[in-house]
Symmetry: C2
Subunit: 437 residues, 2 copies
């Protein structure tokens, strides 16, 4: 990988998500040589991916290059970044094998986050859309817009129904925010773009196996979010378990749905790397001790979504896979490495849950804080403020804010460009609508 | 194509560039049924493509969806847009054959613009990068950024040289603006991103067969632009004819260049459609009369880059292939159709050349107007103003302006995201840099 030898201990970090970034930012970078590996050259602000998918924002507002984030550290000389795909870890020799060569480490920090969990259903994995990365969000955007273009061309009513139906599986924050955003497209944007289509026939189905939306939030938040969604025209179905999908029809334990677009936001699982032994894993995540060290290892750590910690009393089944946990674990691990250098005792990780929030549409959001829960316009302002200040970089904040302001006043979502048409993985054409005039 | 029958005459327009858009915008839309076909769902502001390629702007600033441009016309009910690839025109039966079906027309307007001209050199076509569309500009951006990522990994000096050398063929406005923009990356952005690399070793070669840059502008503008480029560190080579390129080495009539990235801006040719007979073509463009009607046809018109008109006395060899000509021809044709309806005489097309301009870098631009030529900061402000007001849509203007302001004050170009790594068309890997540590 062309990383120079150094007298300093080498810490290798895999993954530039919230956990990895916070870990390095809190590290005393003069004491180590740090190598960060990621398959992309940017950090993604995942909570806003749904806005990229629904034509609200371009990727440049929610992503930030890793080299820019660590410019100071790199200029100082102890920080190296490489785009790499990891093939294997060999903990016995402290070695990483990747597509750009091998690298040895003194300490390894795995912050690879999570990936979509299809629970082993291969058909769904083949045909459903997911939304964990920027390319996936852009593919979903292209598919949605292309569906409506195709709907103008066909005069087959079944095909038109499939093209205009959307089924979102999983009513967690991603599913709820995406459903709300699609409803805004339906209510404010698409009728102007497609006067030839009867956009009222567009159906947005949000289905979940449980009996409420936003099950990780308070019952009050669930109730309010559901009310908002229903007001906006989203069809919510509870107690639904999706069994199969062939690209045109969703089979569930109850009714079936005709749709060209199934969006899978029903679960995630740790993004594991080949080589860490199975006894250190549980539920698709790495089992870690109270200091985020992977059990049965001496110098390999996992932080963020990929880590499963049972020592934090309130979260004995593991922490929620959210940005706040990832950032706090990254910071705690960095502090503990400093403590080790200074012969101080280590701090056990205890998650400080600052609350959670979700936005459904303009002036419609729900916020759960420790002592207080609220909703509506003020919640929506709080949501925007928190997300704006969390975006990395001044320019990203300004560009996102400008886009939101213009959307707010114009009731429009502007980035409806189909730059790269989405090609379905398996077959090129579900629909066939060749006809004369 | 599912276009409803109408009592109105049907005008089909192929291509949503400057010419096609202006034509429809100036048409009395109540008198016709208008069908616009394009392979993309957006209009591209091509003069700023080089900024997308060099990480200055995202596509959403320089593109605008066709449906948004013609929202009013579509709601009124006489305008239809379809994403389509045209296979053939059959003028004898007034029929268009496309990937989404066939369509008959009463009048056909071809505004398909131009495409890159490789002058029959298949190797160059295979291995060179071009920049006529947004996907091409994004590919070039990905390749440039990936080159530097790869350069950090290799310790083979020849490979590193190839990755850090850029050869731009053709010193017209595109080549000059791209060279200037690459020089800004070299001087202000890349040294911070890649402290491990010696960015001084990056070479930007601008080569041209003639003896000056911007040959379509005044000699004064050429001289000033050349001086600016040289100050910024661009190597300019005149009298160079590129003979061959294999993805690593450029062969010319004089010296050769080792480079992974050859950017071809040496010429364009009309984007012809199969079916219009050869006697109506010359130099890769459709021969048109003084009203833009294709010769030997009664109801088929060509406007913009794809049209070759010899009747305009000052431009007996054809008009320059620029936006101004395209827009004026579109407008003139629309007015002439109105004149026909009103039994008024037709207006011959006469190009009103308002001047030309090019920007090389911050505070560095050249402007040729009819009576006056100027350069420097004021020219640069004029360039920015003209391009900002020409962008379609309020939001695009605001987002581009914000980006330019932040770039101006930060000396930075922010959209350095490699969203989709560029895959070279022919072989996956020119370079091979596997090594241990």
């Amino acid at each position: 990988m062309n990383i120079p030898k150094s007298n300093l201990k080498r810490i290798v970090v895999i993954g530039s998500g919230f956990a990895g970034i916070q870990f390095i930012k809190n590290l005393n970078v003069e004491k180590y040589q740090i190598v960060l590996l990621d398959k992309h050259n940017y950090h993604t602000f995942q909570p806003l991916l749904y806005q990229v998918a629904t034509a609200g924002l371009e990727p440049d507002s929610i992503a930030y290059t890793v080299r820019h984030i660590f410019e100071k550290e790199a200029v100082a000389g102890n920080f190296y970044f490489r785009i790499a795909k990891i093939n294997k870890i060999e903990a016995s020799t402290n070695t990483i094998f990747s597509d750009i060569g091998t690298l040895t480490y003194d300490k390894l920090v795995i912050s690879t986050g999570s990936k979509t969990n299809y629970y082993g259903n291969e058909n769904i994995e083949k045909f459903a859309m997911s939304m964990k990365t920027i390319p996936e969000a852009l593919d979903l955007r292209s598919l949605i817009l292309h569906n409506f273009e195709d709907a103008t061309v066909t005069n087959n009513e079944v095909e038109k129904e499939r093209l205009m139906n959307y089924v979102i599986v999983g009513a967690g924050p991603t599913g709820v925010e995406l459903a709300g955003s699609l409803a805004e497209l339906k209510n404010h944007v698409l009728p102007n773009d497609y006067p030839e289509l009867d956009i009222k026939k567009m159906n947005i189905h949000l289905v979940d196996a449980t009996d409420r939306v936003l099950v990780s939030m308070s019952e009050e938040a669930s109730k309010n979010a559901q009310k908002y969604l229903e007001e906006m025209g989203v069809n919510i179905h509870f107690g639904i378990i999706v069994k199969d999908y062939d690209g045109t029809k969703v089979i569930t334990n109850k009714q079936s749905f005709e749709t060209n677009t199934l969006i899978w936001s029903a679960g995630v699982t740790g993004n594991l790397i080949f080589g860490i032994n199975n006894t250190s894993q549980e539920k698709g995540r790495y089992l870690v001790d109270e200091h985020n060290k992977i059990i049965n290892h001496n110098n390999v750590y996992a932080i963020g979504d990929v880590a499963l910690m049972k020592s934090d009393v309130k979260f004995a089944n593991g922490h929620p896979m959210v940005a706040q946990v990832a950032m706090q674990q990254g910071k705690n691990l960095a502090n503990n490495l400093a403590n080790t250098l200074n012969n101080k005792p280590l701090n056990n990780f205890i998650y400080n849950d600052r609350g959670s929030m979700a936005t459904i549409g303009r002036n419609k959001a729900v916020v759960d804080l420790d002592k207080i829960k609220f909703k509506g316009f003020f919640a929506w302002i709080v949501w925007m403020f928190v997300h704006l200040v969390s975006l990395v970089g001044f320019r990203n904040k300004v560009v996102a804010l400008i886009n939101w302001l213009i959307q707010y006043f114009s009731y429009d979502k502007h980035v409806r460009l189909i730059i790269r048409p989405f090609k379905r993985k398996v077959f090129e054409e579900v629909t066939s609508f060749r006809n004369i005039d």
